[in-house]
Amino acid sequence: MAFEYVKKDTPLDRMNPLVKLLYMALALLLVVQCTRIDTISILLIWIIIATVWWIVGKVELKSLGFLIKLLSFLFVFLFIVQGLTYRFGDQTIILKLFDFPVGGGASNYGEMTVGGVMFGLVIALRVIAVVMVIPIFTMTSPMSKISSSLARMRVPQKVIFMFITAMRFVPLVQESMDNIIEAQKIRGFDLDSAGIYQKLRRAYIPIITPLLLLMFRRAMDLEVAINARAFGAKKDRTDVEDISFKARDYIGILIIFSTFLFCIYLLYFDPTLITWNLLVMLVTSISSGIGGALYAIGITDLITNINSVLLSIPLLDIIGGFFNQNLLTGYGAIIAILLIGYIIYRLIRRRTRKKKRVKK
């Protein structure tokens, strides 16, 4: 599993989980206040500092990749929807997809604006800023320590136990699911070759049904198991873990609070646009660089030609001038071609994948 605790013996490992919980709370508090596009710099600072925590805690970067992959659909969705609908900030149009005038032609939701995409980016960064802090908590704190510190905070035993059980059930569900899929496969049930529609409509029933029944039974057994072991017998459970605050915990709190206060300072008192400007410079140089390079090797011409060819196809024109942008000529075509290329690549890969024979 991706977010489980693995003993690594780093300073973060030994740190009190409460400190890390505080970190999570502050991350949330900060993010709630970063709503404007120009707060992007503050979010970036926060994320960079969180990365330092990752490095100190030896949290695998792989799990960050996993997180991003998990959220990538959300991000793409955010970019597109915000790009099309957000009508503040830089109104430069990147791409005109179709015509969808609203407000009596005041704005066109078929046009993707720079400001909109930027706002999508801010939202994505807000999500990342919070999500990045979670593995720092879950992957460096053993469950026993978490429960001890929660008990210290006077969280009721039952609530803590619910929390632990949830963590215990995640791998259990995963394991049962694998076993069930295997069991159905050997009965000739071929999930891999079923189409998506078929999968949704029919194929998951033989897998979800046993899983649910199994989990209900497990939950019942668990009740027996905790009762058999005197859960709740004494008001004060013995805490096995030592969770008193040590020097490193105070240092941790100091670092977290100073980072947080610094970000708040930037946010409310001196909204310097240093990182903002840097970012704008970076984006401009990259795009002009690529543009120049493309022009130099004649791709821009090619794309313009492709564009006009595509535009001359009557049907495409009707859809709403898909390839008809005034700015950044032909970049829509680039994206479209890349997309088409990718789809073709996937199709070819699927065809050439090791084909299994059917036994006579």
Binding site: M143, P171, K185, D190, P206, D221, V224, F231, K356, V358
Partner: protein, 582 residues
């Protein structure tokens, strides 16, 4: 003065909306005694255990008559949290009782709840881990442990509570023979040194006979017998009727006393022999006296099989990709011929199940070639392999999902794309084979575990496979249940099918299989006809296995004219005749 830890008087219990589970049970258990509870599935063993620590009536409701007193407390008047401080229970399924996320906190969980001092908790955890043989695994997560290891952790977690009464519900169901013996020795040691009262349910009568002070036999909620092991096991025929398998030594003694007049009187004073040693001493004495003699009878030979390989492994190595990669198979080569009845035996985690999964294409060999019917498995779809191989899993709950038993059986056949007529024909035949015709319209989850397992087996048989693989037919199955599965397999073998069985129940393997393959640490360390394999002492020891009681006995009697390893009570009984002497 000894006091009674448990006093049960005329206890009758009916589950809410459920069957009558216990009927007129009366027993007294003294402090420091070990009580073995025997009985088939559904005989009320677990219900009795639940009574002892207050799970009934707190978790499961029902109506009760009679009285029960645990260490001076009445479960119906005492809150479960008070009761659970006196009595601790280890459940059947080691998987579900893991309440925390790693082994050490699992061991701390119980005593923490009791508010035991911290230093004492650490001491107990260290002691329990040592005693149960799980030292060094403290930081493992449950999913990184094998079934046997989980069971040991569950036992250790029960021990750390240092209860007055320890209730063990099938604590060794997933352990290999040597592991089972170890656990029973631990239990024995605890009862002696800590004066703990122990109630243990088990299907492993050999071990119960060896160590229990008292044995209770239940059948459909009623007490069939209660007394010392010798008293109880002398009623071997009665026990067989209610689905309890007495130790082979006892069965042999009973069979011989029926055949040879006066035999019973010979052991009447010392009690019926229940261990190999006792039985050997008795037989040796009687043979020396000339009261009995041995006439060698050839055991029936398995039919010769022609060499026509259906399953082949060539130098297969397999490594599980994980945080810590585990090599489960190391350079394994094996050929199984058509019509063979093969048993793969070995310790937990020796690679038995991994090996079998290769045949089905569920796992792909890291190195080497796997062939089914001469075709390379890596080139076949799993769906098409399923036509020729059926695997009957340990846990039927992983596969049952349909609204009725009949639909359940049809599922696999529809996956094969057979015509309707043939489907209904095959379903009927398979239901007939396992004897479940009456329940064909019932929702499988409402059946007992044993019957669910039969449904899963029927679903496998209906596929009409050339090769049938049984994965551990003993798990959570009583004596009758495991034999039913093996007998089905035997009948299929007579029709020319190939059977592969994975098990660590030596009695079962000895009785049904013809060829044994012994695995240890991912390697095949012995392979041959069963009677020869049981003579390979070193290899068996390496695989943590022990030959069955009768085989051990026949090895001891080698000097008296038993020429070969015998595997069943009947074979041994045939060889022993009344002697002409005094």
């Amino acid at each position: 003065m000894t006091e009674n830890s448990i006093e049960i008087d005329n206890l009758t219990f009916t589950y809410e909306r459920g069957p009558l589970a216990l009927q007129g049970v009366t027993l007294n258990v003294e402090r420091g005694e070990i009580v073995g509870v025997l009985g088939s599935n559904g005989s009320g063993k677990t219900t009795l255990c639940f009574h002892l620590n207050g799970i009934i009536p707190t978790v499961y409701a029902g109506t009760e008559k009679g009285s029960i007193t645990m260490c001076g407390l009445d479960p119906w008047d005492t809150p479960i949290i008070d009761l659970s401080q006196k009595a601790s229970m280890v459940l059947q399924d080691p998987e579900t009782q893991f309440t925390t996320t790693d082994v050490s906190s699992e061991l701390y969980f119980g005593p923490s709840n009791l508010g035991v001092e911290k230093e004492e908790i650490f001491r107990r955890a260290e002691w329990a881990a040592g005693v149960c043989g799980i030292a060094g695994l403290e930081e493992r997560k449950p999913q990184e442990l094998s079934g046997g290891q989980k069971q040991r952790v569950a036992l250790a977690a029960g021990l750390t509570m240092l209860p007055e009464v320890l209730i063990l519900d099938e604590p060794t169901s997933q352990l290999d023979p040597v592991g089972t013996t170890e656990v029973f020795d631990v239990v024995h040691e605890l009862a002696n040194s800590k004066d703990m009262t122990i109630v243990i349910t088990s299907h492993k009568t050999d071990e119960v006979a060896r160590l229990a002070n008292k044995v209770l036999v239940l059948n459909k909620g009623e007490m069939i017998a209660y007394g010392t092991p010798k008293e109880v096991f002398s009623q071997a025929e009665l026990l067989n009727e209610v689905g309890v398998n007495p130790p082979s030594s006892a069965s042999l003694a009973v069979a011989l006393s029926k055949k040879i007049p006066g035999f019973e009187a010979k052991y009447a004073r010392a009690g019926i022999p229940i261990t190999v040693d006792e039985c050997f001493k008795l037989l040796k004495q009687l043979l020396d006296e000339g009261f009995i003699k041995i006439e060698w009878q050839e055991p029936t030979r398995p039919q010769e099989v022609k060499i026509s390989p259906v399953l082949e492994l060539e130098n297969v190595t397999f490594t599980y990709p994980a945080r810590i990669p585990v090599t489960a198979l190391r350079d394994v080569s094996l050929t199984i011929n058509k019509g063979e009845y093969v048993a793969i035996i070995g310790q937990n985690g020796s690679g038995k199940t991994t090996l079998v999964k290769h045949f089905l294409g569920l796992l792909e060999a890291t190195e080497g070639i796997v062939k089914v019917d001469g075709e390379d498995v890596s080139e076949l779809t799993i769906g098409s392999i399923a036509k020729s191989i059926a695997l009957i899993l340990q846990n039927p709950d992983y596969q049952l999902f349909s609204i009725s038993v009949q639909k359940e059986l049809e599922f696999g056949l529809r996956n094969l794309g057979l015509p309707e007529e043939e489907i209904s024909q095959r379903v009927d035949a398979a239901l007939n084979e396992v004897g479940l015709e009456e329940v064909r319209d019932i929702f499988p989850f409402r059946l007992s575990f044993g019957d669910r397992r039969k449904v899963a087996a029927a679903a496998g048989i209906a596929m009409d496979p050339e090769i049938l693989i049984l994965d551990e037919p003993t798990t959570a199955q009583d004596y009758i249940g495991r034999h039913v599965l093996c007998q089905i397999a035997s009948r299929m073998r007579d029709q020319g099918k190939t059977i592969v069985m994975i098990s660590h129940d030596m009695d079962l393997v000895a009785q049904y299989a013809d060829r044994l393959i012994v695995m240890a640490e991912g390697r095949i360390i012995a392979d041959g006809p069963k009677r020869e394999v049981f003579d390979m002492k070193d290899e068996l020891e390496q695989a943590f296995l022990k030959p069955p009681q009768i085989t051990q006995l026949s090895q001891l009697l080698r000097d008296y004219g038993i020429k070969e390893n015998l595997v069943t009570v009947e074979e041994m009984e045939k060889c022993l005749k009344a002697g002409g002497g005094r």
